[in-house]
């Protein structure tokens, strides 16, 4: 019998091995991507501006 779609068995493929370190990296990248989507990729950090604290560059009493 010739090979047709209904009787063709795909060869089994081993799942690629992903190291624990890489897994963590991928999880982290997914987290960042989600985060970037949330914020709409608008810049990277805030500039600290609060009324009454405009001249504060450093605070030792947080």
């Amino acid at each position: 019998m010739g090979i047709i779609k209904s009787n063709y068995k795909l060869p089994e493929r081993k799942e690629s091995e992903v190291s624990e370190k890489r897994k963590k990296e991928l999880e982290r990248l997914a987290y960042e991507e989600k985060n970037i989507q949330t914020r709409g990729a608008k810049g990277s950090f805030v500039v600290f501006r609060q009324k009454g604290l405009e001249d504060v560059f450093v605070s030792d009493d947080l």
């Binding site: 990296e25 982290r28 990248l29 987290y31 960042e32 985060n35 949330t38 914020r39 709409g40 990729a41 608008k42 810049g43 990277s44 950090f45 805030v46 500039v47 600290f48 501006r49 609060q50 009454g52 604290l53 405009e54 001249d55 504060v56 560059f57 450093v58 605070s59 030792d60 009493d61 947080l62």
Partner: protein, 321 residues
């Protein structure tokens, strides 16, 4: 305050969960950490206006002018002995060009961005060659993988909190972060620093608030593009496409050209650089009288009140022993 400023400021605060994700995972290191205050124990936020300054620092940003103007070569050929403050992106490039802690005794690198890819700036094997000599200045919100790389490279880490909210209020996030950071080594916790939204500006703040340097020179701090650069190829264009639903023309409308009359050049800026520029130019006007800010980038968008423009060669001649 420009519309760009509001637009970006509101958007970036949504990153809070990423900062806290990093902060919590850095806690074990933070609790037994060295504070940036250890680098100059005599200076604090109370005596900063009466500070009697000495010394200079150079903040090295990653803007295109640093290559176009051969500033790294000029620096290595000079007799300059002051502090070097590298933005993280420039660390490896500096080391590979001979700008090393063996040549400059006060050598710092700074990171503030919370993203994982910041760790790549600390992966090159050349960093380990200078173990113990490069001082890493770290925001408590950087990715923990950056700290892991610093440990591998045996780089001493000095910590600060990025200022993000009104710490006078009892429910302030900064206040809570600092309560958690208190330990035997730092009974009062860590200082909070204004970051200006980017690592270059943080370097400038660090130079005078922590090191107490009298004059800080900026190189590679363009915060903008050359007038004729293609907008589609600029650093933040893809980000803008995301917020305009891939509308190229709408994205382009967010850009504008400003004229730097002091350098007689035009600079293309996007909303992100516009935001950083506006913040920086405002911050400079609020510094104590003893702070001297010298922009030696020889291009870019940083100019205005309290900012002295000086060619880098001239700065090196004037401030080298």
């Amino acid at each position: 305050m420009s519309s760009n400023f509001k637009f970006l400021q509101e958007g970036t605060f949504a990153m809070l969960d990423l900062w806290m994700y990093n902060f919590s995972r850095n806690m074990q290191d933070i609790i037994k950490a060295d504070s940036v205050r250890m680098l100059n124990p005599l200076l604090n936020s109370s005596n900063i206006t009466n500070h009697n300054p000495k010394g200079t620092a150079i903040v090295i940003g990653a803007g295109p002018s640093v290559t176009e103007k051969n500033h790294l070569e000029m620096l290595i050929d000079s007799k300059y002995q002051g502090a070097i403050i590298c933005t993280d992106k420039m660390l490896v490039k500096c080391l590979k060009n001979g700008i090393t802690p063996d040549r400059f005794k006060e050598f710092f690198v700074i990171s503030i961005d919370p993203y994982l890819d910041t760790e790549l700036f600390y992966k090159d094997p050349i960093i380990k060659e200078f173990n113990g000599k490069i001082n890493a200045i770290m925001s408590t919100c950087v990715s923990p993988s950056v700290i892991e790389n610093c440990k591998y490279n045996e780089t001493p880490v000095y910590w600060f909190h990025p200022l993000i909210d009104d710490f006078r209020k009892p429910n302030s996030i900064n206040k809570i972060m600092n309560i958690m950071a208190k330990g035997d080594k730092n009974p009062k916790g860590l200082p909070g620093l204004q970051t200006g939204g980017n690592v270059g500006t943080t370097g400038w703040v660090f130079s005078w608030t922590i090191l107490g340097k009298a004059a800080t020179s900026l190189i590679g701090m363009n915060l903008g593009y050359n007038e004729n650069d293609k907008i589609e190829e600029t650093q933040h264009f893809k980000e803008l496409l995301k917020i305009t639903d891939n509308d190229v023309e709408a994205s382009k409308k967010h850009y504008r050209i400003i004229e730097n009359k002091e350098l007689n050049c035009k600079v293309l800026i996007d909303p992100v650089f516009d935001f950083y520029r506006e913040a920086f130019c405002d911050l400079v006007t609020r510094t104590p009288k003893w702070v001297k800010t010298i922009n030696s980038t020889e291009g870019g968008s940083i100019f205005g009140e309290n900012i002295e423009l000086m060619k880098f060669k001239q700065f090196l001649n004037r401030f080298s022993k």
